[in-house]
Structure formats: structure tokens, C-alpha cells
């Protein structure tokens, strides 16, 4: 795309490309259709999660209720939390990102369309796995963060938690794949002129979110794997009676969990940053500060997880450090709020439903943010943690914040996706019922929390005011339920006979509005020139853009290489978790020295390290056009990798025969988990190298068609070797020192 015209610009071409029939939706790799699939599937899970919420509220409507028994109540709040976070909010945000990121940067599609389809299909698979637990002996019931030891077999003996783990692993893999795709898309597929300084804020914030996903999700995956090994193979990572640590689970969960909060919030910030300027008829105030504060939030989010654990007894010193860090996060968030307000200041405001939700977002999110700051003070946290004050706080952030942002975005972008405007009258009704219902439900929960009502307990005694406040909350929840119905009716009605939207109903200025509504399968006939942050405004006001700047070429990067680097970052986080666990449990034991044979493994390790060198030679040979050199060095590499794997297999064999198993001790649990996952990665690398060899033998690499794929797999192989250097050093060599 060196010129602004897409390759298949002719009318006939896209007529042809339009796929028809329901199967075309299953087989699609079009980012727009995948985006819509994400959104529709999320709506289904939203309905399920919403009904669960209403069941909870019916149970809590009055004191000493027995509408639900305690076990069912536990299952329902666990499913509600898990569903809303992993099956509703995250996929909804990914759905919007899928649909709009390529359009907003003037791209034809995502960087890896087929990977995109895979990411999507893992989502309903994960959802199905989670809900299959209902038919396999009961849903998970340990809460959405599945604290150990409650989530361990002695306390959660049905298979619900196992399905919970599997579902989250599947969803996690899908999310990471999707995030890698977003990163590669934003880095490599921007239209000419679209420098990073000019990308719409929704794109920027989605990009930062994708980085957070790539780094945070693997931490959860690592912990989930260990929990699963505990439950299925009787290890004791998170069980105190076998020497394991229950606090370690909390650390890992919140290392993921706190960035997750921003994974849920940042894209909504991005949506607000699109909606508010358009309906205020002003460019965003302080673009650099909104973009930069996002970076600050993302980095800080990794350093403050322990504020979720003030009640766990980390000690005053840790509490103090994390209190300070947490309060610091309020600064970049506050910067954003003021920027949005300043954007509206003096603007020509148009209170469409979308704008109404955006303004409501500002108010509700500030309330949620303020209650969040109160929690940053450890003593307040000790008093309020696990009460309804927490429930109120995170619903103000996740619902008043993220959901309101999503609704604003839906009213804003629905015309682009469907070609029809949503009904504004129904929309306003939707808005008011939502705002009233939401505040009724959750504002009173602040008071309930201060009065001491604990969360996650199926009922409560008839204390003064508790019944009344809870009843208000329940009525509010039903008002919200009614509002959601209105929203769905509005969508159904507008899809069929809404007012035609035209290309740019809001007179907006980002690139997605430059094409038809809905866009062609190939997105643009011609990408407008990008000379600033508001390309359509520049186009509409040629006189005002006084000097024509020339279109800057975007530095081109290979998407396969960008993708594999993002993947490596993600894998590195996964291995860091496994290595840290090993170190944590084996720092002061000498078990490794007693069981491991450093010399033999050292010999096999040399083979693996040598394979990085041979692979490098193979790459060199391919670049030089030396066919046989490439082939021979590659075969040699595969052989060396296979020898290493043989070494690992024989080592395992020896340990097994001497009676050491994954559940024997913490040393064996951590050893087999760490080296086993490394072995799995080597095996996958071998398969990938085999595929490359096969392609090479077929002559496919000659035309440089797949040469960047080879380079990408090479990087992955080197990475696996580097991980082994760390593992070998920590697990084996440390013992002889």
C-alpha cells in the first residue's frame, strides 16, 4: 500500500468478494465480520451473566431469604463474575477493536486474518467449557479469583474449578493471540501519513491494552497451569500442607488481575476519547497527555497488584509501598478526566445518546475512581475489604466506567457497522433507565459495605436498614435489566428499519467514516490522505489547513517479525512465572543436587545451544541462495533439537523409575512443570522447523514468500534456547556452585 489506493479497488472485485450465507460467517476471516461475531457472542453471554446478576439480587432482596441455597449462590456469583469479565467485557472490547482498529488506521484487514478467526473461535469454546461444568457436576464456586486453598480439591471437590481453569486457559490463549494481532496491525499496517502521533486515541489505547494482555495474561496462565496440576496430579503449589504457598496464588492472580482492570478500562477510555470530541465539535484537548497518561497507567498497573492483598498480611512495609504506588496511579487517570472535561469546555455540545453515555461515564467513573483511592489507604482497605463497598467500587469502574463507554461506542459506531442509525428516542430511554437503575443498584451498596455487609455470603440477618437498602438495590437491578432489554430491542428494530445512516452521520473525522456504512469487504476504495489527526476534517476544510504538508511514509516493519516478538514477550512472562515459582520453593533446599545429573544434562544442553548456531547458519545460507546449505544446516538443527529432547526424555525416565513424580515434593512439582513446559516448547519449535524444512524442500522458500516466516520461527527457536540457559543455570548449575 504505497499509494493511497487499495489493490482491489474496482466495483466488480468487491461484488465478487462479498460472501453470502450463514456458513460464510463461520469461515470468515474478515476483521469486520469477526468483530461482529465477537459482539454478538458477547451479547449472548451478557444475557446469561445478567440473569445470574438478577438471581443474586432476588436472593439478596430481603433478609434471611432462602430463594437460593448457599452452594448455588456461590456458583452463581462465581459464574457471574467470570462471565462478565472474560466472556462479556473483554470480548466486547476485542470485538470493537477488531472492527475499528483496521478501519481507523486505513488498513485492509488485521495483520493475521486467520489467527484472528482462531482467536475468535477460542472464545465460544472457552465459554462452552466454562458452562459445560454445569452438566459435569456443578459450576465453579470459588469466586472469580479462585483463591487457594478454597479452589483446591479438598475444598472444591467437584469438577467446576477444573472447567474454570480450562476455560480461562483457552480464553487466555485466544486473548493473547488477538492482542499479538492488534500489536502487529497497529505497527505494520498504518496508512501513509498515519504516524503514531496521529493515530486515533481508541487505536492507541487498544494498542496499549494489547501490550498489557500480552504481558499479563501469561501470568494468569502460568498460575492456572499450576492450579490444574495441583488439582489433577496432586501437586502442592498452592496448598500449605504440602509446603506450598496459598499467598503465591494471590500474588500471581493479582499480577495478572490488576493490569486486567486496565485491560477492561483502557479501551473504554479510548471510546470516550473518540465520542467526546466529535460531539463537542472540538479536537481532543491535550492529545499527548491522554496518550501519555495511558502509558503511565499501563506501566504502573504492573507495580501495584499487592494493594489487592492488604488484608493478606504482607506486613506494614509492603502495604506502605503499595499504598503509595496505588495513589500514584490516580494521577494519570485524573489527567485523562480533566482532558475530557476540557474537550467539552466551550464546545458545541450535541447530546446524542452516545454523548449522554460518555458524560455519564465521566461522572460514574470518577465515583468509582474516588472509592478506589480510598482503598489505597491500607487501613481503610482492612475495614472495607470483602464488603459491599468493594462490590460498589468495582461496579462503578466496570459498569459505570467500561459498560457506559461500550454503550457510548455502540450508539456511535452502530451506524457504521449496520448502515442504520439506532433509534434516539429509545436510546434516551435506554440511557435514563440505565443511569437510574445503575445508581440505585450500586450507590446504596457503598452504605451497605460501610455498615459491614460482607460480599459473597448468600444471605444476611435482619439488621436495621439492611433490608431496605438491599431492596433498593434489587429494584435498581431490575430497572437496569429493563434498560438492557430496551437496548436489545433498539438494536433489533434499527437493524431492520432504522434510519439510513450514510457514510458519516456524526460529521466525525477519523478514517472509519471515510468509507461506506457498512464498509466493503476490502474497507476502502481509496484511503484519504492523512496529514493530521483529523483527516476527514482536513478534507472537508481544505482552506483551513493552510499549508499542505507532504504525506509521511510510515516505516515498514515485517508483520511476522513484529508478531513473533510480541509472542516471545508473552512466552517470556509465562516462563518467568514458572522460574520464579521454582526459585521460590527451592531457594533453600538442596533437593535438586540430590536428584539431578548436571553433567549429562549439560551435554544435552550443549546440543540445544549449538542448534541456535546451526539455525543461524541455515538462515545465512538461505539468504545467500545456497539451497543445499540451508537444507543441511536446518536438518542438523532439527537433529540437535531432537537429541536434546531425547536427553530430557531419558532424564525423566530415570527420575520416574527412581520413584520421583510430579507430586512427590515441591522440588519435583516445580522441576517437572518448568522443564516439562520448556520441553513442550522445544517440541513445538521442532514441529515448526519441520514445516519450514518441508516448505524448503518443496521450493517454497525460494521466492522469499515464506522467508520472513522462517526468520520468525528462527527467533522463536533462539528464544527457547535462551530460556534454557536460564533454566539450566537456575535448576542445575546453581547446585554445584
Amino acid at each position: 500500500m504505497t499509494t493511497a489506493t487499495t489493490p482491489h479497488a474496482s466495483e466488480a472485485a468487491h461484488e465478487h468478494a462479498e460472501e453470502k450465507g450463514p456458513f460464510s460467517w463461520v469461515a470468515t476471516v474478515d476483521h469486520k465480520r469477526i468483530g461482529i461475531l465477537y459482539l454478538l457472542t458477547s451479547i449472548v453471554f451478557f444475557a446469561i451473566g445478567g440473569i445470574e446478576a438478577l438471581l443474586i439480587r432476588i436472593q439478596l432482596a430481603h433478609p434471611e431469604s432462602h430463594f437460593l441455597d448457599p452452594e448455588t449462590f456461590n456458583q452463581i456469583f462465581t459464574m457471574h463474575g467470570t462471565t462478565m469479565i472474560f466472556l462479556v467485557v473483554m470480548p466486547t472490547l476485542v470485538g470493537f477493536a477488531n472492527y475499528f482498529v483496521p478501519l481507523m488506521i486505513g488498513a485492509r484487514d488485521m495483520a493475521f486474518p486467520r489467527l484472528n478467526a482462531m482467536s475468535y473461535w477460542l472464545f465460544p469454546l472457552g465459554g462452552a467449557l466454562l458452562h459445560f461444568s454445569l452438566f459435569a457436576g456443578g459450576a465453579p464456586s470459588a469466586g472469580w479469583f479462585s483463591y487457594a486453598p478454597l479452589a483446591e480439591t479438598p475444598f472444591s471437590s467437584n469438577t467446576g474449578t477444573d472447567y474454570w481453569v480450562l476455560a480461562l486457559l483457552v480464553l487466555g490463549i485466544g486473548s493473547v493471540a488477538g492482542a499479538i494481532n492488534i500489536i502487529a496491525t497497529v505497527i505494520t499496517l498504518r496508512a501513509p501519513g498515519m504516524t503514531i502521533r496521529r493515530v486515533p486515541l481508541f487505536v492507541w489505547m487498544t494498542f496499549i491494552t494489547a501490550i498489557l494482555i500480552v504481558l499479563a495474561l501469561p501470568v494468569l496462565n502460568g498460575a492456572l497451569v499450576m492450579l490444574l496440576i495441583d488439582r489433577q496430579l496432586d501437586a502442592h503449589f498452592f496448598q500449605a500442607h504440602g509446603g506450598g504457598s496459598v499467598i503465591l496464588w494471590q500474588h500471581y492472580f493479582w499480577t495478572f488481575g490488576h493490569p486486567e482492570v486496565y485491560i477492561l478500562a483502557l479501551p473504554a477510555f479510548g471510546m470516550i476519547s473518540e465520542v467526546i470530541p466529535v460531539f463537542s465539535r472540538k479536537p481532543i484537548f491535550g492529545y499527548e497527555f491522554v496518550a501519555g497518561s495511558t502509558v503511565a497507567i499501563a506501566v504502573l498497573s504492573f507495580g501495584v497488584w499487592a494493594h489487592h492483598m492488604f488484608a493478606a498480611g504482607l506486613g506494614h512495609r509492603a502495604d506502605l509501598a503499595f499504598s503509595a504506588g496505588t495513589m500514584l496511579i490516580a494521577v494519570p487517570t485524573g489527567v485523562k478526566i480533566f482532558n475530557w472535561i476540557a474537550t467539552m469546555w466551550g464546545g458545541k455540545l450535541r447530546f446524542t445518546t452516545s454523548m449522554c453515555f460518555a458524560v455519564a461515564f465521566l461522572i460514574e467513573f470518577v465515583i468509582g475512581g474516588l472509592s478506589g483511592i480510598t482503598f489505597a489507604a491500607a487501613p481503610v482497605d482492612w475495614q472495607m475489604t470483602d464488603t459491599y463497598y468493594v462490590v460498589a467500587h468495582f461496579h462503578y469502574v466496570a459498569l459505570g466506567g467500561t459498560l457506559f463507554g461500550i454503550l457510548a461506542a455502540t450508539y456511535y459506531w452502530f451506524p457504521k457497522m449496520s448502515g442504520k442509525l439506532l433509534d434516539e428516542r429509545l436510546g434516551k430511554l435506554n440511557f435514563w433507565t440505565m443511569v437510574i437503575g445503575f445508581n440505585m443498584t450500586f450507590f446504596v451498596q457503598h452504605f451497605l459495605g460501610i455498615l459491614g455487609m460482607p460480599r459473597r455470603v448468600y444471605t444476611y440477618p435482619d439488621l436495621p436498614n439492611w433490608g431496605t437498602l438491599n431492596m433498593v438495590s434489587t429494584i435498581g437491578a431490575f430497572v437496569m435489566g429493563f434498560s438492557v432489554l430496551l437496548f436489545l430491542v433498539n438494536i433489533a428494530k434499527s437493524v431492520r428499519n432504522g434510519k439510513p445512516a450514510g457514510d458519516n452521520p456524526w460529521d466525525a473525522w477519523t478514517l472509519e467514516w471515510a468509507t461506506t456504512s457498512p464498509p466493503h469487504p476490502h474497507n476502502f476504495e481509496k484511503v484519504p490522505p492523512v496529514r493530521g489527526r483529523r483527516p476527514l476534517w482536513d478534507l472537508a476544510n481544505p482552506g483551513k489547513n493552510k499549508v499542505k504538508t507532504k504525506i509521511v511514509e510510515i516505516a515498514t516493519y515485517d508483520k511476522a517479525i513484529v508478531g513473533v516478538w510480541a509472542f516471545i514477550a508473552s512466552e517470556a512472562m509465562f516462563f518467568i512465572v514458572l522460574i520464579l515459582t521454582f526459585v521460590y520453593f527451592n531457594l533453600s533446599t538442596k533437593a535438586a543436587a540430590a536428584h539431578l545429573d548436571v553433567k549429562t544434562t549439560g551435554m544435552f544442553s550443549i546440543c540445544l545451544f549449538a542448534s541456535s548456531f546451526t539455525l543461524h547458519r541455515s538462515e545465512k545460507a538461505l539468504a545467500a541462495g545456497n539451497e543445499s546449505g540451508f537444507r543441511n544446516w536446518l536438518i542438523f538443527t532439527i537433529l540437535l533439537g531432537a537429541i536434546f529432547m531425547f536427553g530430557q526424555a531419558s532424564e525423566y525416565q530415570k527420575l520416574f523409575t527412581s520413584g520421583l513424580n510430579v507430586n512427590t515434593s515441591l522440588f519435583t512439582s516445580t522441576f517437572f512443570t518448568l522443564t516439562g513446559f520448556h520441553g513442550l516448547h522445544v517440541t513445538l519449535g521442532l514441529v515448526a522447523l519441520g514445516v519450514i524444512l518441508w516448505l524448503g524442500l518443496a521450493g517454497d522458500l525460494k521466492g522469499r514468500r515464506h522467508s520472513s516466516a522462517f526468520k520468525a520461527i528462527g527467533l522463536y527457536w533462539h528464544f527457547v534456547d535462551v530460556v534454557w540457559i536460564a533454566v539450566f543455570g537456575i535448576v542445575y548449575v546453581r547446585n554445584i556452585l
Binding site: V299, G303, R317, T549, I576, L587, S588
Partner: protein
Amino acid sequence: MTTGELLLTAWQSDAFVYAVAGAGVVAYAARMQWKLTRRALWLVLAAVVFLLAFVSPIGVLARGYLFSAHMLQHLLLVLVIPPLVLSALRTGSKEADVAPGAPGAAAASGARRFMLPWLAGVSAMWLWHAPTLCDAASNSIGVQRLQTVSLLVMGCAFFWPIVGPRSARRLPPFGAMLYLFAACVACTLLGILVTFSPVEVCSIYAHPVDGLGAMPLLRDGWGLTPKADQEIGGLLMWVPGCFAYAGGMLAMFARYHREEAADELAAKEAA
């Protein structure tokens, strides 16, 4: 002894420290041909911080009393002084910096240019906190001098690709952000290990030789048991250490926007 007395009395004189600071200032002045510029203020600031790190109670407590004070000193040497020194060395004009040779060649050697500095910066944190080396440094004054100098050198190496004097040899802003982030992860890991480790990183801090008579104050008044002391040390590396890198990342982000804005302006003026 009260806290006030400690802060007033616990100052020490150290010829080696004066020599290093003095040599640094003289070398800098000679390089700048004895002209006083505003940039020199950065160097003065670096020298002041360096002196405070050793002469003030931080330095006194770091010498055998408190691991946390040692960590604070360590962070100043690696994360605060080097960027100050490098800022002082920056030359004014941009054009004069451009390295001869094709830009492609510069990019090709890029990976090598930042791998070693990065490793230097991370090793500065990790190496000297291996219990053996940490003990060696606290037992021998020679090793301690070596530690001080090596930390400064490794810190400067680490920040060279970020705020090095020649802007053409620096990492592009987004690359610099990744560079800082990766270093932040590596140091956070060490901070976590030090905080939660049951093993003493430096055994000398468990049984200080109390020449000052400050131990009752530290142990009872401040409540710093050896374990608490090590925890604070780990947390210092973990939380404020991480924020130092985060601050660097934000500065790089600001630099990107500043440079792009300047480029856009230049393009407009050209057209």
C-alpha cells in the same frame, strides 16, 4: 540516640569519594574547555547526590548498619547519578551529532549497541546482590570501592543509549521505552526476590558492628529488624526503582512527540 541526633552526627569524611567527585568535575570542565554552561548544573547535581550518598547518614548507615540504606545508595548510583552525568555531557546541536556513514549501517549494528548496555544495567542490580559478592563488598574496603565505581560505570553504560551525548547514536523513543521496560521487569524480579527471600542477601547487616551506638535506635526506635530492613531494601528496588524506569519511559514518550512535532513543523515550512 534520637533520630535527630543520628541525622546530625552520622556524617563521615571519605577521601576516595571526594577524589571521584572531584576528578569527575575536573574531567568534565576540561572537556567543556572550562566554559560554564547551563548543562554543567546537571553535573554539579550529580556530584552533590554522589557526595550525599556516601558522606551523609545514607552512606554511614549503608556501611554495615542497614541493608535498606545500602539499597538506596545503590539505586542512586545506578539510576540517578548516571542520567544526570549524561545529561551534562549532551551537546547542543543535533546536526553535529549525526554519525558518518549510511543510516542503514547504524540500524544494523543497533541490536549489538543496546544489548550490552542493557545487560550492564541489569547486572549492576543483580551481580552485587548475590550474597557472596554483597558480603565481599561489605568486608573489604577495596571491593567496596570497586563496587562503587563499577555501579557508576554500568549505570552510565545502561543510560548511554537513552540519554547518551550523541543523539544519533541513541535508541529511537519507542525502542528506548521497550529497553527501559525490559530493565524494569528484570529489576522488579530482583526486588521481589529480595523482599520475600528467607535468605539474607548480605549477612553483615544481620549483626552490625555498632561504632556509633545507633543500633538501639534502629532496632527499637525505627523497628527495623534485619528481616524488616531487607524487606524495605527489596521494596525500594521494586517500587520506587520501577517508578524510575517508568518515569524514563514517559520522558521517552514525550521526546517522541516533541521530535515528531518538530519534524511536522519542518515539513510544513519546507512546503
